[in-house]
Symmetry: C2
Subunit: 198 residues, 2 copies
């Protein structure tokens, strides 16, 4: 009943996160009816990225070359290294903060039950970078989840062993948020993590 090719396309589109059978169908019909040009460009971009995008050798960020743009830049402060879980977080930090140091992208978080240990996160590479001696401060920016916190502790230990300063980004009440609606964990964290008011 379906066109076999349309059905194949609908099936293939479902490999995207958050795309179920209904959305896949909607996307397929939209592309075929209204934007074959866009669909072709999408196909090309997918193939190009799959063939050529790899991990930066220094920070594990997605990169076109051996070193990513940030690691290759001479204008970044090599004494600062911010540890994040994923490339999306690098994007957010670059976009919204004035951070000018380097990164280390874990591509995940410690999760022994899923078989994700220090090796999977490239922590051997991370220790090697600490050994090189350039890094003076490790900024832990893993997510404030149970696993993210465990990962932060583990990594913090690696840095402390080498007498490198370790900091954690602040967690608390978000700007514009109302105390009344903030969850218990965040609010108690905001109190225990209070700082001098200037």
């Amino acid at each position: 009943m379906y066109s076999k090719r349309v059905e194949r396309l609908i099936q293939a589109l479902r490999c995207m996160p958050g795309v179920g059978p209904k959305s896949a169908q909607r996307i397929a019909f939209h592309l075929l009816e209204r934007d074959r040009e866009g669909a072709r460009e999408m196909a090309e971009a997918l193939v190009d990225a799959c063939e050529n995008v790899r991990h930066c050798e220094r920070c594990r960020m997605l990169s076109d070359d051996a070193l990513c743009g940030i690691c290759a830049s001479s204008s970044r402060d090599a004494a600062l290294m911010c540890v994040v879980e994923s490339p999306a977080e690098v994007m957010a930090i670059e976009q919204y903060t004035g951070y000018r140091g380097l990164y280390f992208v874990l591509m995940g978080r410690l999760s022994p039950l899923d078989g994700i240990g220090p090796e999977e996160l490239g922590l051997d590479r991370f220790e090697q970078r600490l050994e090189e001696g350039e890094v003076k401060e490790v900024i832990l920016a893993t997510n404030p989840t149970v696993e993210g916190e465990a990962t932060a502790h583990y990594i913090g230990e690696l840095a402390r062993e080498r007498d490198i300063r370790v900091t954690r980004i602040a967690h608390g009440v978000p700007l514009g948020g109302e105390l009344e609606y903030v969850d218990a964990g965040t609010l108690s964290h905001a109190f225990s993590g209070r700082i001098d008011f200037r």
Copy 2:
């Protein structure tokens, strides 16, 4: 800062409906990190569909061949022709009803302001099919929106001119719906369209 290829991919993914910059980024990172195999298959399916999927010559449904599976089938009742706006609606009718007739897919609805008139909806082809004399009943299944209703009226007129029976699918309170929560238009439609209770 970004990888150029990743940036190109994110941009390309935005041609899908409902995919904004954030989702495009999420999809790109997911595919590159976790499912390059799926991404490659998606690219192939896109190219294959773009090159080879066309419109059925009889009903305008998306099809691999000159005639779609439904029009080519000998087990369908050629006396019934159901008019719908899009391929997704054919899918829904095939899946959820026992309808065994044929279709005519408008690929849109009359919308003079957007420059969509009878020609854009292939109504010359539609009239030709009526002229062939096989069709005994036209079932109007355009959406119950202002434009869908206008389209239904226009098409109904074409069939009536040729003394062909015209029916409209029933609109009213959906099954499992509660009268209390049904909108005014639907409820008044349900009353004016009441039928004998058997």
